[in-house]
């Protein structure tokens, strides 16, 4: 365990940024966002960012290829992959779990080389939680927010930032920083208090009913209609979600060719999956159902029972009509047979 006084955080960030480009959660006009560090950028006091850490690995928009036409020939230019190291500081335990969930999608064959390059070049410094909010429910997914992993784990107490390396990459990183020695015992009380708060979080979910065997029963559940009734069909939940991973591929005609890019898509949108055979899901009920069935049933069926929700609570905070995965899970899970 290493440590640095809280007042010296700017010095630490400068030193981190010396080793590789540093990103950290900072306030931008009152909204916390992962921000490229520069002199003067300070760590937000907010618990979490509006947009998740996913954005640094799977950005909302990225160019895949450029097609240049000249006369009768087309030249195809592959877009560059991430080739420089970078550091993400301040990843919460929930967002860290989202990387595992995304890895199972993007790193399965055929691998997504854009995502893979970013994952390989990143060093992750997580930040343990000790003041969760009422919208947090990471405990439902057995996430220990008081002791997340990553390459390095950081614990911010009243007076100091304690840092513990978990990987070789983390060890190497800490060796380059102006830190003094610390001891596990220094965060023991802090961590105990954090766990006590985490244990009494108001949202307690029983997800045992969301199994592959019950897929059709859940799919045909009459509650989807009332649950989806007020849904506006916007993409807020999808775009603030750390695990949503659907995208669309589009071509943009430029002066002398075509730019092929991908951008996040949302199953809540009316034209989602329009490209396959022109049969997008007909009403908001089906679109809404897809999002939650994917998180709670389809993804776990394909991934050894792992849910693709991390309990970060962003959708609870941001949905314009306050409909969310907790209300869905309680409604459907609460009406289990037997």
């Amino acid at each position: 365990m290493k440590k640095i006084e809280k007042a010296r955080l700017p010095e630490l960030f400068a030193a981190l940024n010396e080793t590789a480009a540093l990103y950290l959660p900072a306030d931008r006009d009152g909204v916390a966002a992962f921000t490229r560090w520069q002199e003067g950028v300070t760590l937000t006091e907010k618990l979490n960012t509006v947009r998740s850490a996913k954005d640094l690995f799977f950005p909302q928009v990225e160019t895949l290829a450029n097609f240049k036409t000249q006369g009768g020939t087309i030249e195809i230019e592959d877009a560059a992959r991430q080739d420089e190291d970078f550091i993400v500081f301040g990843v919460r335990a929930c967002d860290l779990r989202s990387f595992e969930i995304l890895d199972r999608v993007f790193l399965a064959e055929p691998q997504d080389t854009f995502y893979k390059a970013r994952r390989e070049h990143a060093a992750i410094i997580t930040l343990a939680c000790n003041a969760p909010e009422e919208t947090c429910f990471c405990t439902a997914f057995s996430i220990d927010a008081a002791d997340p992993q990553g390459d390095v784990t950081a614990f911010l107490t009243d007076t100091a930032l304690c840092l513990r390396a978990n990987t070789e990459k983390g060890e190497n990183l800490l060796a380059k920083l102006p830190l003094s020695d610390g001891a596990e015992s220094e965060i023991a009380a802090w961590q105990k208090q954090a766990r006590e708060t985490l244990e009494k979080l108001p949202i307690q979910l029983d997800l045992s009913g969301f199994t592959g065997e019950r897929m059709m029963e859940l799919f045909n559940h009459p509650a989807w209609q009332p649950l989806s009734e007020a849904c506006l069909g916007c993409g807020t939940c999808t775009f603030v979600c750390p695990t949503c991973q659907c995208y669309d591929v589009k071509d943009f005609k430029t002066k002398d060719g075509v730019q092929r890019f991908r951008c996040w898509d949302s199953c809540m949108y009316s034209d989602f999956t329009m490209m396959s055979a022109g049969q997008p899901r007909p009403t908001q009920k089906e679109r809404f159902r897809q999002r939650f069935m994917h998180k709670l049933v389809y993804y776990p069926m394909n991934n050894e029972g792992i849910f693709s929700c991390v309990g970060c609570g962003r959708c609870l905070q941001k949905c314009p009509i306050h409909m969310n995965i907790v209300k869905v899970a309680k409604t459907l899970g609460g009406e289990r047979d037997a």
């Binding site: 969760p132 009422e134 979080l201 506006l232 916007c234 807020t236 999808t238 603030v240 951008c263 905070q317």
Partner: protein, 321 residues
């Protein structure tokens, strides 16, 4: 009579077959718009409080096309949206029963949560919100956590109703809602551009502003229309900064009642209402005072033509004739 009791009475008496209202959430602030079909359902989960901020007017477009009569509770600013939608023949007036509810302002849940971290329950006690949080009890001044639109409330008058719960209020000509617009007008063009770029560059193009907007009721939005080639779902260029929100504001000009839903729902806290207010203010200045949704007869300035209308060049910043 209280809102909930009225909902029960309307359903029990058979006067209406459905009631549009707000449903209890996990906490005190996360109410979801819902349609209630029985008195028992209302009894179980209907809630009305200063946290029922959502303007439910837009839901009446679809609800008024269903069989039977649907009742809706309207706060003053919701009533402007409803009357505007009736005027545009989007809501079928004969299928809705409107109950006006006086309003002393609605709460911004984000502001409340910032002031009462870990908020789980809240009760109102004479202008103070007593909050239960994960970290103990916290008292918050109600006036400090109102939504922006309520802090500068333009009117407490309910402009359309079949029945009123309590006394109707008045328009508020003293509202300072244009103050922020004036501030931006007084910037240089470069500063103004920088202001909007800073704000709009946060846009994640989730379309919440558009989808919640009662004035945005096109069957298919031009920005969703793949057949036209105008669909756009990626903040790929500077489209959001330079076009999307401005185009939307132009499209709703003269129909926007300034209900403030766009800013209320923006996950990135972009003050979108300022664009709409700028257009409202310009129309007031150039064509005379006009409030969309205030009545069912008047022609909106953008649809009206008078010989003494100003020339386009009269607009501030335009080339002078």
């Amino acid at each position: 009579m209280q809102v909930k009791e009225k909902a029960i009475e309307l359903l029990s008496s058979g006067k209406v077959s459905r009631v549009l209202g707000w449903k209890q959430g996990e906490f005190c602030y996360d109410l979801t718009p819902a349609v209630f079909e029985s008195a028992e359902e209302v009894e179980r989960s209907f809630v009305f409080s200063p946290l029922a901020g959502a303007n439910l007017a837009k839901y009446l477009i679809a609800e008024s096309r269903k069989e039977g009569v649907v009742a809706a509770f309207l706060k003053p600013c919701d009533s402007y949206s409803v009357l505007q939608l009736c005027k545009e023949h989007r809501i079928r007036r004969e299928n809705v029963y409107l109950v006006g509810v006086p309003c002393e302002g609605t709460v911004d849940p984000d502001l409340l949560r910032e002031n009462a971290k870990g908020l789980t329950a809240v009760r109102e006690a004479g202008g103070t919100l007593v909050c239960d949080t994960l970290y103990g009890e916290k008292r918050v001044d109600l006036s400090a956590v109102l939504l922006e639109r309520c802090k500068v409330c333009k009117s407490k008058k309910i402009v359309v109703f079949d029945e009123l719960l309590g006394e109707n209020g008045e328009e508020n000509p003293q509202s300072t809602r244009f103050a922020a617009v004036e501030e931006i007008e007084n910037l240089t063009p470069e500063e103004r551009y920088a202001f909007w770029q800073k704000e709009l560059s946060r846009c994640i193009r989730c379309n919440a502003c558009r989808n919640v907007c009662p004035a945005c009721s096109c069957e298919t939005c031009v920005f969703d229309n793949a057949k036209l080639g105008t669909d756009n779902k990626a903040p790929a260029s500077r489209f959001e900064e330079q076009y999307f929100h401005i185009i939307r504001a132009f499209h709703v000009a003269g129909r926007c009642t300034d209900c403030g839903e766009c800013s209320r729902v923006c996950p990135q806290k972009i003050p979108l209402h300022l664009l709409n207010r700028k257009f409202i203010r310009d129309m007031n200045t150039l064509y005379g005072q006009y409030q969309a949704g205030a009545d069912e007869e008047s022609l909106p300035p953008m649809l009206d033509f008078r010989m003494d209308d100003c020339e386009p060049s009269a607009a501030r910043g335009g080339k002078q004739a």
